[in-house]
Symmetry: C2
Subunit: 270 residues, 2 copies
């Protein structure tokens, strides 16, 4: 049952389903669920919510404890501050971090943990770097992912294309999204790996307007200071923040993002 | 312990680690591991391998049973055969399937199950569509992912670039990979969503030669018939196979791929 619940987060599972699946009485299923709930909570992984009634059951609500989040983000800050990550133009090499499924899954659980109370139908990101994080978040929220591209490909079918202005370089850029990928009225969580002025994310917001969809939230792994002017995006959640990048002296300073302003303790039912 | 093992597949975990973590005696840990092993096996999810000795412990080996694989692949065939997927040029719209984390995770477990015996250090794919499957496979194999791109970006750092000939259109194309992403001598599993003549996968093989790395295996979700000439890639594992695509009559026929030639029953220790 533990692994079934972990595989189906935020999904209501009835006691009869488990009783049939394991050929056990509902009373012993219910007892075992109590133990699982306790284990999830002790481990800080999440909890089980019980929905009473005939159409009821249990739901696994994933969570990351504040302690776990602090530990993880501190470690991330350390890894990001290594000077050999620094690339021309003040960009950071992130491929190794974004390529590690264990790190990516943890990032996913952290974001799922702060966004779990919101109504979210789909996670959206832009190719290529944000994709792994978007899938991890979507896995924990049990919703699909849609990917915005810079170029239109035949395999997308008909697409909606918009122009947007990149925040830092002020260049006009293009992004496309398959027409059938987002339904009208959807609540969309935007996830990306990196945000400077916020031009790309602003582009995704404009794209969602075309689809008459709503922005349910914005999560970015790394936010960078942008001195040139004010940020194009207001409300977002970041795990870490590059406060100083000195290309000449190969020095990077990484702070906590605004994540802990939004992180809440796990709501536990008695 | 169940969720820890699920999160760290193919990773040796010592009994003392669990004993410390849960403040329990090794004997009761060992007893519980016996129950977990049995549950994994009954559910067809995998098994626990025991490594004896002082440096020993247990390893979770993920697996998909043949019954589960048949059920999943049959369902996939049905979904793929829907005529509204058909795009100009005989391509198929796959975004909805590749965007569903639950489906993608299952595909990942199926591939991990056939490749688990091989020595694999890293999973490689090409942007954009193969990425979600590659991460799912890599999660189950507990190895990192590297992504080949069509265009070089500043955030990749220095890259290796090669030209290759696309199998179906015979056009010369370009792919790039960040220089620091693959170590010399690595064993690399290539994963992609779609293979026609195999030009792109052949390109990835050439790329690996540049990195002095070895191809440990090739997995594709959908293989398509290519009548024009022989396939450029010999040994690969596919889940499904498009045997007929008739754009005019909007008819798609989808068969099982060669997956079951490679799928083995789970090796269970007594």
């Amino acid at each position: 049952m533990t692994s079934y619940l972990l595989d189906h987060p935020r999904h209501l599972v009835s006691l009869s389903f488990f009783a049939d699946r394991y050929g056990a009485a509902k009373s012993s299923i219910s007892e075992d669920l109590g133990i699982i709930k306790q284990t999830f909570e002790t481990q800080g992984m999440g909890t089980l919510h019980t929905v009473p009634g005939a159409a009821g059951g249990v739901k696994f609500i994933p969570h990351a404890s504040e302690e776990e989040a602090h530990k993880f983000i501190d470690n991330l800050r350390e890894q990001l501050a290594k000077s050999d990550r620094l690339l021309p133009g003040g960009y950071l090499y992130l491929n190794d971090i974004l390529g590690d499924p264990r790190i990516v899954n943890k990032i996913g659980r952290l974001f799922a943990s702060v966004f779990t109370d919101r109504k979210i139908d789909v996670v959206m990101t832009v190719a290529t770097k944000g994709i792994s994080i978007a899938y991890a978040v979507a896995s924990y929220l049990d919703v699909p992912v849609v990917i915005v591209r810079r170029d239109s490909k035949v395999t997308e079918g008909s697409t909606v294309s918009i122009n947007y202005v990149s925040g830092s370089t002020k260049r006009i850029q293009n992004m496309v999204l398959a027409r059938r990928s987002v339904e009208e009225g959807s609540n969309v969580l935007i996830i990306d790996d990196f945000m400077k002025a916020g031009g790309t994310i602003n582009g995704m917001i404009s794209m969602l307007e075309e689809f008459k969809a709503t922005v349910a939230g914005i999560g970015v792994l790394v936010e960078a200071e942008d001195n040139s002017e004010e940020r194009l995006v207001d409300e977002y959640i970041s795990l870490v923040r590059l406060s100083e990048v000195n290309v000449k002296e190969k020095h990077i300073e990484v702070e906590e993002g605004n994540y802990f302003k939004y992180a809440k303790p796990l709501k536990i039912e008695e």
